[in-house]
Amino acid sequence: MGEIIVVTSGKGGVGKTTTTANIGTALASEGLRIILIDTDIGLRNLDVVMGLENRIVYDIVDVTNGNCRLKQALIKDKRFENLYLLPAAQTKDKSAVSPEEMEDLCRELKEDYDYIIIDCPAGIEQGFYNAIAGADQAIVVTTPEVSAVRDADRIIGLLESSDLRNPKLIINRFRPRMVRQGDMMDIEDIVDILAVDLLGVVQEDDRIIVSTNRGEPAVMNLISPAGEAYRRIARRIRGEEVPLMNLEESYGIMNRLRRFMGLC
């Protein structure tokens, strides 16, 4: 029986889609059977981040409307044959899928896959409730800014009142140098305020933009610090105890070089 994880944030632009793509790819690289579902109907993006936009024939609304079978809408990843994407519809709106339809869909997928990872739309409207309807657990993504953390707090409240207890937090776009200078909230500031478990910290990394440009998730890049952070997050999701990355060192040129040459 698989596990259904919804990736959410409240605020837009904090990295939900990037997080979904990278965690999914990292888990698939360990041989697990993975499905990624884009529920941002009308504003689909997970296909582009995964580099699969040219392969879409059917989408999630075609499945729920009965225009095609679920298996027909699943798009196989370029890199891993055990990784699939169920894309969002681009032409419909967010009410095109109901919470009950999502639950049915999740139940069906659970039989054949180890993890089903759902990319939630921004906001707290119906699209949010649809995305979380079938989930077993939730990941909340935030960045170290007042606005993003505030929205994360709101989302945590809504998740808990929808019976998704103990959501796990990912702090994205973390910049150790700014923290050192006293100009960015530190990890413990955010974890204290939100009072949730930390799943991981992903530092700001220019390679994320490069990887999105290419449609190749950063976890495929062995010298990307963000990629390494996502690989660790994936291992934690599987229940492994993995220490946080040393955020200071990961910025050093020598360390990147060493990692590149496989020395650490």
């Binding site: 170290p144 800014e145 007042v146 953390v149 505030r150 707090d153 709101r154 409240g157 923290v179 200078q181 006293g182 100009d183 960015m184 909230m185 530190d186 500031d189 305020i193």
Partner: protein, 107 residues
Amino acid sequence: MLTDAGEELIMLLEYINRVLGKAASSSRIHARERLRLVLVHDRAKMSPYFMNQLKEDLNNVIARYMVIDFDKFEIVLDQSDKVVELKTSVPIKKIRRDYMDRIKRSS
């Protein structure tokens, strides 16, 4: 649009300012405090249930000492610039003569 060199220069100037004590204290502290304050409001506003629960709990404590007019018992979160305060107005009907005994018994 600033060039990279331009940005580096500005960062250097900011650093010098900070060292000389001219710049305001670190923005991390500002962010943390503003966030703390805004969440006190968000969380309190999110549930009227919480305010009612607090009111009943307070009443249970106060009742050991005095009898109050529960219908006129008011409790609000009040925001000024820097702090959020819990303000209450508790009209008293009577003070209990035997409150010493009650406290001893309950403790």
